[in-house]
């Protein structure tokens, strides 16, 4: 048993080393290696950690493993070590990051093949995986913060991957800066945690003794600040506007970073800190409200977007909103469950969208697509699977996770459930809108493009098929109790969440009959939404589309939030910058300084005639002064 544990410990380190080595190798030696080798190396650098993650996940059981590498910032009053940690929650995250990450790496080999920055791309991708893994296997908040900022950096580098175009660069910069705003919240939370617990180590902070002695007001602020950090990384109100712009990056990046993994970091962080949040019910309430509001806001925008990736981006924000809502009502394992299934079907949808874009030679406007189902059959099929999964139709994965969340919302407050259902209906509606507009009907693009359309190579379709299978069966890890089975995932995660759930103390499980009624309502609603979508976008396409554009401008324009932020924050800052410099700095402060200077030089006019320059005068005065000092010294003695 002991040796087993030791070996598992070492795996924690090895998991990190492979992607880091991959990053260095394709980054530094990229020019001298062939594309095949880089592709294989980079994918292997993620696959090996996946194998290790499987080993950890299988063996972790109820326990936890940790590995201290070295003292990072260490002196008498403060000791922060660089140490790693894994329990079942970590193991699950490791599986998602490395598993989905590996598939996306493989897909990228074909997708990025003709790009001149091929090696740079894989270098950044490995770097991202490295930081994401640090984030999930950290054993204290500061090491987590390394991963937290590190994924932000990789995201910045990858959004702006095609840096010739300043639109991409602006998107990258926006993502980094908005994340930094959240990061300041996170950082302040760490300060407060350290000040309160004198440690940033999870084991110390979450230890019941420490927690019991802290007053709730402090915990409230810690949790609020952590949540602010999470809104940045996980694109929630008010810091979500960077994510749609982040679609400027290559599509595999959108799939890996801006859908499946990085954006879930906020969910993971809050789930990891669940015990703290259990002591801050007000913050949990806020999280639930912000989550559901974000879910609805983003869904309403997604309906009216015409860029295939933008629709998926808003859908991601919306789904993250569900996860936050779940966290907010204390359904921690429900949130993680949805995180996992979402990683499958959203990565699938993005990669399939990439396949569509690939097939059309770069076209992303869904108004110029249509009828693709005849030409790219595999992509069509997997995309449809993704749509069914995200819409929550049984027995696909999204059904189980989403209904678990909806049920938890109902248990907390039926109003939340109603809002959740509204979001779910919108989700089904816009996802099938996307499906019908892209794959059904007639092709609306130019004839030149029509000739180009081709199915993607196997290297792309195989990962798609694997993800499609996962999207179908992924929900079975969390079969609900009304199906007469043990909830595998909930049991698996129970060592992590048990304590927090006990504190929150809501054992008011709905009776199975009521739960079934809720599910029936949501499934029927979703089916109606799909039929509605079919009626509008397939059967009756042209007429409605034109009317939509004028009446629902507010959704199409995304509630003008970007414009409002521009007006409230960006413009005033730039104005301040100019004003500070040209008026306050040059006219006022420097004006006073110069004024004093002129005054002094006028009154000292006589000296000017005696001395021929300031320097000489100064040196002379200094020598004189020093002599005078010695004289004074001598006299006093």
């Amino acid at each position: 048993m002991v040796s087993m544990e030791n070996n598992l410990n070492i795996l924690l380190l090895l998991i990190l080393l492979f992607p880091f080595a991959g990053f260095l190798l394709s980054g530094l030696a990229g020019k001298s290696l062939s594309k095949q080798i880089i592709g294989i190396l980079a994918s292997t650098a993620v696959f090996i950690p996946f194998v290790f993650s499987v080993i950890i996940a299988v063996n972790i059981g109820n326990g936890a493993i940790s590995l201290k590498l070295f003292d990072w910032i260490h002196f008498q009053n403060l000791n922060i070590s660089f140490s790693l940690f894994a329990d079942s929650l970590t193991a699950l995250m490791l599986l998602v990051v490395t598993g989905v990450g590996f598939l996306i790496h493989v897909y990228s080999i074909a997708y990025m093949w003709d790009d001149e920055g091929f090696s740079r791309f894989f270098s950044y991708m490995n770097l991202f995986v490295f930081f994401m893994l640090i984030l999930v296997i950290s054993s204290n908040y500061l090491v987590m913060f390394i991963g937290w900022e590190g994924v932000g950096l990789s995201s910045y580098l990858l959004i702006g991957f095609w840096y010739d175009n300043h639109e991409n660069n602006n998107a990258a910069k926006k993502a980094f800066i908005m994340n930094r705003i959240g990061d300041l919240g996170f950082l302040l939370a760490l300060f407060l945690i350290f000040t309160t617990f004198n440690s940033l180590e999870f084991s110390t902070v979450f230890g019941s003794n420490a927690l019991m002695s802290v007053n709730n007001n402090t915990i409230f602020w810690i949790c609020l600040l952590l949540f602010i950090g999470a809104t940045g990384k996980s694109a929630q109100i008010p810091l979500y506007t960077w994510l749609p712009d982040a679609m400027a990056g290559p599509t595999p990046v959108s799939a890996l970073i801006h859908a499946a993994t990085m954006v879930t970091a906020g969910i993971y962080m809050i789930a990891r800190s669940s015990i703290l949040f259990a002591f801050a019910p007000e913050v949990l309430g806020l999280i639930a409200v912000v989550g559901i509001a974000t879910a609805l806001l983003a869904a309403s925008i997604a309906i009216f977007q015409n860029d295939i990736k933008k629709v998926l981006a808003y859908s991601t924000i919306s789904q993250l909103g569900y996860m936050f809502a779940a966290l907010g009502v204390g359904a921690f394992s429900g949130a993680i469950f949805h995180l996992v299934t979402h990683a499958f079907f959203k990565a699938l949808l993005f990669l399939a969208a990439g396949s569509v874009i690939h097939a059309l030679g770069g076209e992303q406007n869904i108004n110029k697509m249509g009828g693709l189902s005849k030409k790219i059959k595999v992509t069509t099929l997997v995309f449809l699977i993704g749509c069914i999964a995200i819409s929550g139709i049984p027995p696909f994965s999204g059904f189980f996770s989403k209904d678990e969340i909806l049920t938890s919302l109902f248990e907390k407050n039926p109003l939340l459930w109603i809002l959740g259902i509204a979001g779910a209906l919108m989700t089904a509606f816009y996802m099938f809108r996307l499906y019908f507009l892209v794959f059904k009907g007639n092709f609306r693009g130019s004839e030149d493009t029509a000739k180009l359309i081709h199915e993607s190579p196997k290297l792309m379709t195989i990962p798609l098929i694997v993800l499609a299978l996962l999207s179908i069966v992924g929900g079975f890890i969390g079969l609900p109790e009304w199906m007469g089975s043990q909830h595998f995932l909930e049991n698996y995660l129970s060592p992590v969440f048990n304590a927090s759930i006990q504190i929150l103390n809501h054992n008011t499980h709905l009776p199975i009959s009521e739960e079934l009624i809720l599910i029936l309502i949501s499934v029927i609603g979703v089916l109606i939404a799909i039929i509605f979508s079919w009626y509008i976008y397939l059967k009756n396409y042209k007429v409605i589309n034109n009317r939509v554009a004028s009446v629902f401008l507010i959704f199409e324009k995304k509630y003008w939030v970007d414009e409002i932020y521009e007006f409230l924050f960006v413009k005033p800052t730039l104005w301040l910058s100019n004003t500070f410099y040209s008026i306050v700095e040059l006219k006022w402060i420097d004006g006073i300084v110069n004024g004093v200077g002129i005054l002094v030089s006028r009154s000292g006019n006589q000296l000017k005639y005696i001395q021929n320059g300031f320097t000489e005068f100064y040196v002379f005065m200094m020598v004189l002064g020093i002599i005078a000092l010695f004289v004074i010294n001598f006299l006093i003695r």
Binding site: D71, W72, I73, H74, F75, Q76, N77, L78, L142, F145, I146, E149, G150, L153, Y156, G160, Y163, D164, N165, H166, N169, N170, K173, F176, I177, R180, D183, L184, L187, L188, L190, F191, L192, F194, T195, T573, L574, L576, S577, N578, F580, Y581, V584, E585, I589, D590, V593, N594, G597, F614, T615, Y618, V619, M622, G625, I626, L629, I632, I636, R637
Partner: protein
């Protein structure tokens, strides 16, 4: 013997170089000298590492009042390393009368070494002023257009500050019991009333605030950093401004504890205003050196706040950040010089698309930029994290306001990087040769230090700790 290499060699080098003729010889000899100085300083490392003694180590007994505690040693380490970097970087500028140039460089290093190691207030003042002279001449003779007026302003401004310090020091001297003494130890033992302390506090504070610089005593700084030659800017920003912070720690904390309790918050607010003010101004600067100048001002404002909080964690952070900032700012101004060298302009509007034609430069620039915006695992993070944590513990609001600096830092630095390195190649750029071997070596050594300090800062913290404990004993 070691003491001679560390303390005396810069002066010897300064004199020897003056008599050399051949440009190449001068460069090589200067490099060798600065390398010896740095290596000899490194030899002290074991003396201070894990040393439990809080007492300063006397370098030269009964002579010239030199002694070192961990703090002095770290400053010396910075001075000698930064000196080595500056001397090595100087090859990129083609100096006329280079024997004088290098001689002045060594003179500055000599004076700075003195400032950081003396334990006598008079010597402190003399070295402090002595450091100014070579930098003044370097800026005045090798600077760019408009330097005359600007360097004189810089000179008078800092002179004005130092005179206040001198007045305070003389007052303290007179207060010491007979026979009067300028020794730090004697001055530390003075019992001063709160009023006396307040006067001395402000005299010191203004002197140091000008040097660092702290808002609103900063207006000499952006101009001077901009027109000074690269090495002058590096000297000023990399090492000389730390004299101010060092002075605050060495003189203000032990001598005016009551006044700091009374006035510290007020002074911190000035510094915080400076952080935000300089950060916001940096956003719209179009001259790359001026942008770095304002960025530097924002960073050192945080240093001042950290020192004034009297919090041990913040002070430890400040010490680390003094070293980090020294390294990073030298890197940044070297980046600026690369642009000057390749394009002959500092105007960001004329840049663009450099990443594609100079990928190695792009990589190094990015790493130094990340260190400057305090990304974890770089040196910049350790210092800023500790400082903000310490400040947070003593005043949450100030920490939050000062923390906005990390957001603004990302704004202007990423903007700069985007405009200069990304996008389409600017039509003004006909060619932009990627880094040469010497430049790569210089950048590589910077990057090694950046990552080493970011990953293993504990030995440095360990060295600083006893000295900080000793200084905070008063409170």
């Amino acid at each position: 013997m070691l003491a001679f290499f560390t303390l005396g060699l810069p002066l010897v080098a300064s004199i020897i170089v003056l008599f050399l003729k051949n440009k190449q010889t001068i460069r090589n000899i200067s490099f060798i000298f600065s390398a010896i100085i740095f290596v000899s300083t490194l030899f002290y490392f074991p003396v201070f590492h894990n040393s439990t003694s809080t007492l300063p180590v006397k370098i030269i007994e009964n002579m010239l009042y030199f002694s070192m505690d961990g703090l002095s040693y770290l400053m010396l380490l910075l001075t000698s390393f930064a000196g080595l970097l500056i001397v090595s970087a100087s090859f990129i500028e083609n100096h006329e009368r280079s024997h004088i140039y290098y001689s002045l460089l060594f003179l500055a290093i000599f004076a700075l070494t003195g400032v950081f190691t003396t334990n006598n207030a008079l010597m402190f003042y003399i070295y402090w002023e002595l450091a100014l002279i070579p930098v003044y001449f370097i800026c005045a003779y090798w600077g760019s257009e408009g330097r005359e007026k600007i360097t004189i302003k810089f000179f008078i401004y800092t002179l004005f500050g130092s005179l206040l310090m001198l007045a305070a020091l003389i007052y303290l001297y007179v207060k010491t019991p007979y026979p009067h003494s300028f020794n730090f130890e004697a001055i530390y033992q003075l019992v001063l009333t709160e009023t006396e302390q307040s006067w001395i506090f402000w005299a010191f504070f203004i002197a140091f605030a000008v040097k660092i610089p702290i808002f609103p005593f900063h207006t000499w700084q952006p101009d001077t950093y901009t027109v000074a030659p690269m090495s002058g800017t590096m000297l000023l920003a990399g090492i000389m401004l730390k004299m101010g912070v060092y002075g605050m720690i060495r003189l203000m904390l032990p001598i005016t504890p009551l006044a700091i309790v009374q006035w510290g918050t007020f002074a911190s607010i000035l510094a915080v205003i400076g952080i935000i003010y300089a950060s916001i101004i940096a956003i719209r600067q179009t001259d790359i050196k001026r942008l770095f100048a304002f960025s530097s001002m924002a960073h050192v404002g945080l240093l001042a706040v950290a020192v004034l909080t009297l919090n041990k964690i913040a002070l430890q952070g400040a010490v680390i950040q003094m070293l980090s900032h020294g390294v990073n700012v030298i890197g940044l101004f070297f980046v600026a010089e690369i642009f000057m060298d390749r394009m002959g302009t500092r105007n960001i509007a004329n840049m663009g698309g450099v990443a594609k034609i100079a990928p190695r430069f792009a990589l190094f620039f990015m790493i130094i930029l990340l260190a400057s915006i305090a990304l974890p695992l770089t040196n910049g993070f350790v210092g800023e994290f500790l400082m903000l944590l310490g400040i947070f513990q003593s005043n949450v609001l100030i920490a939050v306001l000062a923390g906005t600096g990390i957001i603004f830092g990302a704004v202007y630095m990423l903007w700069l990087y985007q405009k200069s390195m990304y996008g389409k190649q600017n039509e003004n750029i006909t060619s932009f040769p990627d880094l040469k071997l010497r430049e790569i070596l210089l950048f590589t050594s910077l990057v090694i230090i950046i990552l080493w300090m970011g990953l293993i800062p504990s030995p440095l913290l360990n060295i600083a700790e006893p000295a900080i404990n000793e200084i905070l004993k008063t409170f």
